[in-house]
Subunit: 420 residues, 2 copies
């Protein structure tokens, strides 16, 4: 037994015990804790900024990129946003105790499927310290205990945030171990989390592809995760071309760094000599590099040749691959061959083509005449999400507080026994 | 690349392709295939019995126990039951395409959560050849492809059943690879199945504790499983004692070999000098060995002392452990400490005690005034079950055709783009 193993086992045991208590607390107590945590966050702004200053200094010394430093940085505005985020979560309806199904058997047994918390959620994240508050808030609201493991670059910031959350949680009389943070940057602690099946029910990795890939490789604990979002927009021959131009531009360019941004544009051959040129020139005009198939290259000199590798690439940048395909079935085949089962969209006025596409694409989210950038728990009206899952088990698409619950069956009888 | 690896990869690829087709077939086609398979099973009775004869002979030579030989044995009645089972599954409502949720966002986007098949189900089972037909039928009905791996003792029987199913499936025009059987008894094939995350979405181990334990240890693929059913019945001080006697006797003795049978009886201290003696003498009179705590031993000389180990034991036999506890909270603590999160029951006329127990026991199924032996998909009205899960992810309790589905989100728009 290594020291890290003992430490993590203790953490796990404490989380399980806290989770059992949390699962039975009324919504009001969980909401009070969220509001108290928000208040403590605001009151701790100076301490949090001081801790963040240490992380920023170390990050600069270490030569972190400007983008990473920006993710790491906390100021009053960001601390306010974290606090407001917790208060917003407190406003969401209680996901625990929902009666998901309720039926009565011929023998009079009444059977209810009732939502209960999953238990203990592990969150492994990189250098965004705000995940500390967001993830803890979603777990708390859904009656789950949480074990957080933040990135080493944000160690001091995350711990300062955690200290404020812990105060709020105990202010409201909830168990002190409802949310715990792994108190070491030793990577062995991550290995422990990934195999603690007795103490952690699900792990949410939040970070880049390399983090998620490692977690997928090693984890014995179920995951809510997506490795990448190779999202497609297919413009059908029966599309309203003005709508298509607007949707495609938004799907690619609104934000290029998020998982729901379109990486490949598929265009029906019927549009090869008409709409295709408009779609491509819109993208080029917006500063997007276009890598196209032979037909796409014909419409504009600035289009460079796409390789097989492009169809498999999540650019997360101002780059798009464009391919002309023979109608909706060829589009589906492309999506199911090269995609990552995240989010796809079709633009068409033809309901039959839309139905074929929506059913045929084996993806978590499929859109008709709407931008793939709507792939987001907030946009879905779930309030907030702890992540997006491309897995098929339990939760798929945005993972909000309802998805952080499982269920149990309550069988209500009047003395029924089972016949032989 | 070993030969087994290549073989299993081929099987997996074929299953994935068949699953994609199956997912889009109408319910009628799947029902037709189930009925055709039933007809082919009946028509193949002689061939199936001949194959079973070879397995029985080998089993006897190998010295299999009578219980195992009985599980292995197929006769006309059992073949008829398999065929009828498939026809019953065909009668169930279509689980695919159910709209599980449907809402419209302020921006006009309509979001639907729609049930879709999980994809490819792997079933690893022991010497019951009828699992071949039952599991294949449930997968087919729910639009999933299946990869079956039966026990080596039932190799010939399972393959004869499989041949009949395959004929029925192709009779109805569904993909020939909708259901496949691993064509080797090499155990390396199981190892491949447990790591084929690209081709198998969930595995259902059906068999004894050692099989399930091995699968749990090795699997990278999610599982629907329970290791054991250490089920409890708690008789509260406010119980109707006649009801309690009837429920307890049924919960333990109706069938002692199933996972939902009660293994431990917990009795409220308020009944220690009254009802406890009745409950114990009923069990003894029915031929059940009783292993009790000190107070339980006081009520009857035939009660032997229970050890700590007894509280953790799934007897699957005519043995019960009995413990006097200090009320409902102590009962819950015992269940959550020693149980296997399968099924628990409380007998009481006190609704508050019942609510405390039902909420407090961290188990998949919790019963009030009903026998734990109702833990069964058929008794729940699900038609049939592929197994019972004590996991918390995706499916919990009986796993029927609805639980063999996941969902996707359909986002229906009219050109919406996401604001910055």
């Amino acid at each position: 037994m290594t020291e890290i193993h003992s430490l993590m086992t203790e953490l796990g045991r404490a989380a399980r015990a806290a989770g059992r208590v949390l699962a039975l607390t009324p919504d009001q107590a969980r909401n009070d804790a969220l509001k108290a945590a928000a208040a403590r966050l605001r009151a701790s702004a100076s301490a949090i900024k001081a801790a963040n200053g240490r992380d920023m200094e170390a990050g600069r010394a270490k030569g972190l990129s400007d983008a990473m430093l920006d993710r790491l940085m906390l100021d009053d505005k960001r601390i306010q946003a974290m606090a407001r985020g917790l208060e917003d979560i407190a406003q969401l309806p209680d996901p625990v105790g929902r009666v998901l199904a309720d039926w009565t058997r011929p023998n009079g047994l009444r059977i209810q499927r009732v939502a209960v918390p999953l238990g203990v959620i592990g969150i492994i994240y990189e250098s965004r310290p705000n995940v500390t508050a967001d993830a803890a808030g979603l777990c708390l609201k859904s009656g789950n205990a949480a074990i957080l493991r933040g990135g080493s670059e944000s160690f001091h910031s995350s711990h300062a945030i955690m200290a404020a959350l812990a105060q709020g949680i105990t202010d409201a009389g909830l168990p002190a171990n409802s949310v715990q943070m792994v108190p070491t940057t030793d990577r062995a602690a991550v290995g422990e989390m990934l195999t603690m099946t007795d103490f952690i029910d699900v792990i949410v990795p939040r970070g880049g592809k390399s983090l998620v890939a490692r977690v997928r490789e090693e984890s014995k604990v179920p995951l809510f995760q997506h490795l990448e979002g190779i999202c497609h927009t297919y413009v059908d021959g029966a599309a309203d071309i003005e709508m298509a131009r607007s949707v495609v531009l938004n799907a690619k360019m609104r934000r290029t760094g998020i998982c729901g941004s379109t990486e490949t544009l598929l265009v029906d051959r019927r549009l090869a000599s008409t709409g295709l040129a408009l779609l491509v020139s819109d993208l080029l005009a917006a500063g997007c590099e276009v890598r196209g198939c032979a037909l796409t290259q014909e419409v504009d000199d600035r289009v460079v040749a796409a390789t097989e590798e492009d169809w498999r690439t999540e650019y997360l940048d101002k780059i798009i691959s464009v391919r002309v395909v023979d109608g909706v079935q060829a589009a589906i085949d492309h999506v199911n061959t090269y995609g990552s089962q995240h989010t796809e969209a079709i633009v068409t006025e033809d309901p039959a083509a839309a139905e074929t596409f929506l059913n045929g694409c084996d993806s978590a989210i499929v859109c008709w005449n709407a931008s793939t950038q709507f792939a987001d728990g907030g946009e879905f009206g779930m309030g907030a999400e702890i992540g997006i899952s491309t897995g098929r088990m339990h939760a798929r698409g945005p993972v909000g507080i309802e998805q952080l619950c499982t269920f149990k069956y309550k069988v209500l009888g009047s003395g029924q026994v089972r016949p032989s």
